[in-house]
Symmetry: C2
Subunit: 130 residues, 2 copies
DNA sequence: GTAGCTGCAAATTCTTTGCAGTTGT
DNA sequence: ACAACTGCAAAGAATTTGCAGCTAC
C-alpha cells in the first residue's frame, strides 16, 4: 500500500506550485525547501510512482532530460526558451494534423514543441534568467 | 582543417546506406564492418563533427536516445508508428505556429511528432513490421 | 509490528575528455 | 613535419539499485 510521506507530499506540491514542467533536479530543489536533506533518489522513485498512479505526466522534449508536470490538464503543448531553457505550457493547438500524414497512415496523437524566447529573455530584457 | 580518415568515411557511408536514423551504437556496428577495431569515442566525435559541418542531422525522439540521419533534406517532421516504432518523415508542416505562443514570447523554431499507425501496421494488416 | 519508504553510496548507461601514439596532407 | 585524428580508459552526467535504518499505518 502507498503511504503519505512528507517527501511525497513535498514533491507533489512542488509540481502543483510550479505550474510548468520541472526537471528532477528542480523538483528536488523545490521539495528540499519543505524537507531538508531529501535525496535525489527519493525524487526519482516518487516521480516514477506518481506517474504510474496517474498523478503526474512525463514530458520528454527532444534532446533534453525528462520533465514532470501534474496530470489531468487539458490537451496542451510546450514552449522551450532557447536562452533560459525553461519549459512553459502552450494552451493552444494547431489542430488538423491528421491531414499531414502520408496516405494510409492514421494519426492518433501528436507532440508539438515551440522554441524561441520567453518574455523574460527578450533581447534587451532587464534581467534574463539563468 | 578536416581530414578524410577511413573512420570518418565509414561512418558517413553507414548513414548513407542505412537511409534511416541510426543510434551511435548502430553506426559503430556498421562502420566496424569497414574499419575493425574502431572505438565508440570516434563515432561520437565524428557524429558531432559531421553535425557541426552540416553533413548530418540529429533526430531526437521523445524518451529515446539521439539518432543521426543524413542532412540536406527539406524542413520536415516525423511520424512514429505506435506499433512498429519506426520513424517516417512527414514532408508537411502546419505553419502559423508563432500565433500559439503566449503574449511576449517569440517563436523561432518548432518540432512536431505525429503518433499513430503506419500503413504497414493498420489493424487487420497482414504482417505488421517490427 | 511490519511493509513501504528514505538517504546514502555504489552501479548502470550513455556520452565526453585526457593522453600518448598514429596518420593524412 | 605537424596538426588533426584515433583508441583506450577514465571522467562526467543522469538515472537506478542495494542496503540498513526509519516511519506511517
Amino acid at each position: 500500500m502507498e503511504r503519505n510521506t512528507r517527501q511525497r507530499t513535498a514533491i507533489r506540491e512542488a509540481l502543483l506550485l510550479a505550474a510548468r514542467p520541472l526537471l528532477p533536479q528542480e523538483v528536488l530543489q523545490a521539495a528540499q525547501a519543505q524537507v531538508p536533506g531529501m535525496g535525489i533518489a527519493t525524487v526519482y522513485r516518487n516521480l516514477k510512482a506518481l506517474v504510474d498512479e496517474g498523478a503526474l505526466r512525463c514530458v520528454n522534449l527532444p534532446g533534453d532530460n525528462p520533465r514532470f508536470e501534474t496530470a489531468g490538464q487539458h490537451h496542451h503543448h510546450h514552449f522551450q526558451c532557447q536562452a533560459c531553457e525553461r519549459v512553459f505550457d502552450v494552451h493552444a493547438c494547431p489542430g488538423n494534423l491528421a491531414a499531414l500524414a502520408p496516405p494510409g497512415f492514421v494519426v492518433n496523437d501528436h507532440d508539438l514543441v515551440l522554441y524561441g524566447r520567453c518574455s523574460d529573455c527578450q533581447p534587451g530584457a532587464a534581467a534574463p534568467r539563468r
